[in-house]
């Protein structure tokens, strides 16, 4: 790939294409991987609110716990972008998220 020359770039390095960070998959930065225990999760949405990278996915995917509690949504993690910062695990009020060391 040839990179642009100085006169081919926008002034001051301004990014003219919004949201282009999606091209950079930051999941490889992770040391610890958060895993959501769908049995414990109460669908409170706190992890979704706190995640600084928007890597918590709120999916319209029904889930029934072993005790028979029905949920219409499921929270999952987008591991392409999750950097493993652990904020979700810290904030989860029911300790449904655990951090597990990444296997290489």
């Amino acid at each position: 790939m040839t990179l642009p020359k100085w006169y081919e770039m926008p002034l001051a390095g301004t990014i003219l294409e919004p949201g282009n960070t999606i091209k950079i998959k930051t999941g490889s930065w992770r040391t610890f991987k958060p895993i959501i225990d769908q049995e414990k999760c109460t669908r409170c949405r706190i992890c979704w609110v706190y995640c600084p990278e928007g890597s918590i996915l709120e999916l319209e995917k029904p889930y029934v716990t072993s005790k028979g509690k029905k949920f219409n949504i499921t929270y999952e993690i987008n591991y392409d972008y999750c950097k493993g910062c652990g904020i979700c695990a810290t904030e989860c009020p029911v300790k449904a998220i655990t951090l597990v060391r990444e296997e290489v």
Binding site: W6, A12, T14, I15
Partner: protein, 398 residues
């Protein structure tokens, strides 16, 4: 087209009021300012203009100079015409943000009534604050009287906003000596000034309709090219400053450029200085000429970009020159502007005897006779035939 020159009105103004009137004349949109001696009267006058409805601007009362520049950057980023002013410790406190303003290519204009740096505390003038800020990527213009303060601030907007430049500009002048001294100043008609500096937003702005990211993190593959763009912009500014100076002359009848000269045509010796000292130098030149010394002078208007070629053109066939600097360096035996001149001459292979004088530090009184004295030294160094190694700290008790 035929133009009618109407009788112009002269007002008794301080350098600071001249700065405030210039900001009003160009119809600034935002003023983010924090008071510091001797800049305070600019903040006061602009507040008065806004309060009286004479200037339709958002006056942001910030809590520090760091915030003043931050607010100025934010306002310029959305396309506003922004003015601020500070000096000395205030300029040092906003130092970090100076690089953000120039790096983001935002044409903010700032007045700097130059003041000495602490410690010990001095509220009086010298150019150590300006020198400390001059490598921040800002264009640095220096005025020598209140009229120049007014004229250069108007030009600063036109220079900074030029699409081939897009850089912030500071207009510096001696604190107190110029900021608080009443001088006759011609104020041009605001309507004519606004026609001279029309509002054209030539830079990329923050706009929700067309989102962009300013000042992102860049890696080693990108940073160098972006900074080189700034190098080119500064080089372009050399021509733009001269062109705007000529256009200003056409419209208002006062000529400007990268530097000022006085009696250089047949001169054998040259005295170089800037700021209020330029007025002293011109008087000393006249006195020395009466004594038969063929001396001329260069008053530096643009400290950055530095007018290398123009200075070489004047100095190359002279017998000797003397620089009178109103700023200090520590740890090297030259002073800031003298060093720029030495570097320039070496590059252009010009070798002439010279002498380096420092004066006016912390507003130590400069007399015209001191400048006459430096001219005598310049003649002596020419006889000696090589540059003087030691700096002359003029006015110092020894």
């Amino acid at each position: 087209m035929e133009t009618t020159i109407l009788a112009k009105r002269r007002y008794a103004l301080t350098g600071n009021y001249a700065a405030a009137y210039a900001a009003k004349a160009v119809d600034v949109d935002v003023v983010a300012i924090y008071p510091i001696t001797p800049q305070t009267t600019i903040a006061e006058k602009l507040s008065e203009f806004v309060a009286n409805g004479e200037l339709d601007a958002e006056l942001v009362h910030v809590e520090s100079e760091h915030s003043a520049m931050s607010a100025a950057i934010g306002a310029a980023a959305v396309g506003a015409r922004v003015f601020t002013a500070t000096c000395s410790q205030g300029l040092e406190l906003m130092h970090e943000m100076l690089f953000i303003a120039s790096g983001l290519r935002l044409p903010i204009v700032m007045a700097v009534p130059a003041r000495a740096l602490s410690a010990p505390i001095s509220i009086h003038s010298d150019y150590c604050d300006v020198v400390s800020a001059r490598d921040s990527g800002w264009i640095v213009l220096i005025a020598s009287n209140a009229q120049e303060v007014y004229d250069l601030i108007i030009q600063a907007f036109k220079i900074g906003e030029d699409k081939n430049v897009l850089l912030p500009v500071m207009v510096a002048y001696d604190g107190f000596l110029m900021s608080h001294t009443l001088e006759p100043v011609i104020l041009e008609d605001d309507y004519e000034v606004r026609k001279f500096v029309p509002k054209e937003v030539n830079w990329i702005t923050l706009n929700p309709e067309k989102p962009v990211t300013m000042g992102p993190l860049v890696g080693p593959d990108w940073y160098y090219e972006i900074k080189y763009q700034q190098v080119v912009a500064m080089r372009n500014a050399l021509n733009v400053i001269n062109k705007v100076g000529k256009d200003f002359d056409k419209k208002f009848g006062r000529r400007y450029g990268l530097l000022k000269t006085y009696r250089v045509e047949d001169a054998e010796y040259i005295i170089i200085t800037y700021g209020a000292a330029w007025e002293f130098a011109m008087e000393a030149i006249d006195k020395a000429r009466n004594d038969g010394v063929k001396i001329g002078g260069i008053g530096i208007t643009s400290m950055r970009p530095f007018p290398e070629e123009e200075i070489v053109k004047i100095l190359q066939d002279k017998k000797a020159f003397v620089t009178v600097d109103k700023a200090l360096y520590f740890g090297i035996s030259t002073s800031p502007v003298h060093m720029d001149i030495l570097a320039t001459l070496y590059k252009y292979d010009v070798r002439i005897p010279c002498i380096n004088v420092v004066h006016g530090i912390g507003q130590r009184t400069m007399f015209v006779k001191d400048f006459v004295e430096t001219i005598k030294m310049c003649v002596k160094v020419a006889e000696k035939g090589k540059p003087e190694k030691e700096i002359i700290y003029m006015g110092l008790r020894t």
